[in-house]
Amino acid sequence: MKKCLSKEYKFGRLKLILSQIALLVLFLGIWEVGARIGLLDEFFFSKPSSIAVLFWKYLKSNKIFKHISISLLETILGITIGSVAGILVATILWASERLSKLLEPFLVILNALPKTALAPIMIIWAGTGVRGIVLVAISILIIVTIISTYNYFINMEPEKILMMKSFRANKFQIYTKLIFPSNLVNIIGVVKINIGLAWVGVIVGEFLVSRAGIGYLIMYGGQVFRLDLVMMGVVILSLLAYIMYEAVNLIEKILLKKRGKGI
C-alpha cells in the first residue's frame, strides 16, 4: 500500500517536472522564433541563442568566473554577517524588554525606509570595493532580520517559559534550551529570505560603483545597449540565487536530520 502510494507520487512528480521543463522550452522557443522572424525587436529583446553564444565566449575566456566569484563573495559575506548580527541584536532585544521598548519606534522607521536609499551612504563610509558593497547588502537585510527574528523569539508560548522557570532556569538557559532551538526552522526561513535581499544589495551596490561583478555586467550592458549581456547577467543571477537557496535547504535538512524527527 505504502509503496504503491509512493510510486504514484513519484510519477506525479516526474510529470510535473517534465511539464515545467516543457513550459521553459516553450517560452525560450517563442522568444527565439519571435526574434528571428522579426516579431520581437532583437535590439530590445535579444534572443536566447545570442545570450548562449555570449555566455560561451565569456566562459571560454574565463572572464565570467571573475564576475561570478566577486558577486558571490559579496553576497555570501552579506548574508552571513547580516544574519548573524541581526540574530544577535534580536537576542539582546529579547533579553532586555526595556531596550526593545526603547528602540521600537526607531526600528519601525528603519524598517519602513526603502533601504536602497542608504546605499550611497554605505559606500561613502566603507569605500567602493567589496567592503562597501557588502555593507550595502547588510544594510538591506539586517533590519528585517532583527524584527522578524525578535518577533519569533517573543512569541514563545508563555506556559513553556513558565515550565522552564519552574525548574529555575535562568535567562541564558531559557534562550539556549528553549527559545533558540524552537525557532531554528524560523531562523533558517529568515536566512532564505536574506538570500534574495543580499542579492538586491549586491546588485544595487555594483550598479553604483563597481568595476566587476554580475551587477557591473548588467549595468555596463545596459549603458552600451547590449541586451544580450544584460539578459545573460540576469540569467546567471537567477541561477546563482537559486543554487544558494537550495544550498540553504540542504543545510536545513542536514541540521534537522541531525536533531531527529522532532522539528
Binding site: E159, K165, S166, L178, G260, G262, I263
Partner: protein, 248 residues
C-alpha cells in the same frame, strides 16, 4: 506539614488600580496527601500555585515549603526536538544535577511507567496520555517532593482524561508525593483528592474544606472512586457551595 500557606495575600496593579486576588489564604498540606483546589473561574487558583512555586512573590503572608516543588501545567510542554529521554532530564540539565544517581532514577521511572521503549522517540510519536506521563516524570526527576498540577487534564478528551488521571494518580501515590491539583471539574476533584479546598470568588478566601472519605470495596483509584455512593453526596455538596456564591 510539608507545605503551609500563612495569610497569603496578593494584589496586582492594573490600569484601573489595585486588583485584589487573594485575601489571606491559609491552608496546609500533609505528607503524601492530594489536595484539590476548586473555585469559580478567575478566583486566583493559578495565582496561588504560582506563588507556591515561587514564580510570583505574594504581597502579604508567607509560604513555608519543606522540599523541592515541581510544577505541571495544563499542556505537557514537551520540547518537540528532544527525545523523550532528553525531555525527562531537562530539569536536571537546567539545575546541573545530572548525576549517575539521578540518571538511574530517571531510568527506573521510565521503566516503571511504561515509557522505556519510547525513550528515543520524539514527543510527536506519543499519545496525549503518554506525553502527560512524560511531563510528570520530568517534574519528578528533579527530586520534587511537592507537586503542583494546574488543570493537568483540561486539554485531553473525556476518555483520555479518565485514563490519564488514573495513571497520574497511581504514579503520585506510588512515589508518595504531596500534591495540590487545581481543577474546575468537580468529579475530577472528588475522584483524585484526599481533601478539597474551595476558594471563594475574587478576592479569594478559603471558603470550605472537605475531607474526602469514600466507602469502597476495592482499592481507591480515580475510576473506582466514581463508583462510591459517597461520590454523589460530595458532588452535591460542592455544587451547592459553588453556586450559593453565584450572583442571582
Amino acid at each position: 506539614m510539608v507545605l503551609e500557606l500563612k495569610d497569603v495575600s496578593m494584589h496586582f496593579c492594573i490600569k484601573e488600580g489595585r486588583l485584589e486576588v487573594l485575601d489571606k489564604i491559609n491552608f496546609s498540606i500533609r505528607e503524601g496527601e492530594i489536595v484539590a483546589l476548586v473555585g469559580p473561574s478567575g478566583s486566583g487558583k493559578t495565582t496561588t500555585l504560582n506563588i507556591i512555586a515561587g514564580l510570583l512573590k505574594p504581597t502579604g503572608g508567607e509560604v513555608i515549603a519543606k522540599g523541592e516543588i515541581g510544577y505541571m501545567f495544563q499542556r505537557d510542554n514537551l520540547l518537540e526536538w528532544r527525545t523523550i529521554y532528553k525531555n525527562v532530564i531537562l530539569g536536571l540539565e537546567i539545575q546541573k544535577k545530572l548525576t549517575p544517581e539521578a540518571v538511574e532514577k530517571v531510568k527506573r521511572m521510565l521503566k516503571t511507567y511504561g515509557l522505556w521503549d519510547f525513550r528515543n522517540c520524539h514527543p510527536s510519536e506519543l499519545s496525549g496520555g503518554m506525553r502527560q506521563r512524560v511531563a510528570l516524570i520530568r517534574t519528578l526527576a528533579t527530586g520534587a517532593e511537592i507537586l503542583l498540577l494546574d488543570e493537568p487534564f483540561a486539554s485531553l478528551d473525556y476518555q483520555t482524561k479518565l485514563l490519564v488521571s488514573e495513571d497520574i494518580y497511581k504514579i503520585i501515590k506510588n512515589e508518595k508525593k504531596s500534591t495540590i491539583i487545581v481543577t474546575h471539574d468537580l468529579s475530577e476533584a472528588i475522584s483524585m483528592s484526599d481533601r478539597i479546598i474551595i476558594l471563594s470568588e475574587r478576592p479569594a478566601r478559603v471558603m470550605k474544606t472537605y475531607d474526602i472519605n469514600l466507602t469502597l470495596d476495592e482499592e481507591r483509584t480515580p475510576l473506582s472512586a466514581r463508583k462510591s455512593p459517597d461520590f454523589r453526596i460530595y458532588f452535591d455538596k460542592l455544587w451547592r457551595d459553588l453556586n450559593e456564591k453565584m450572583p442571582k
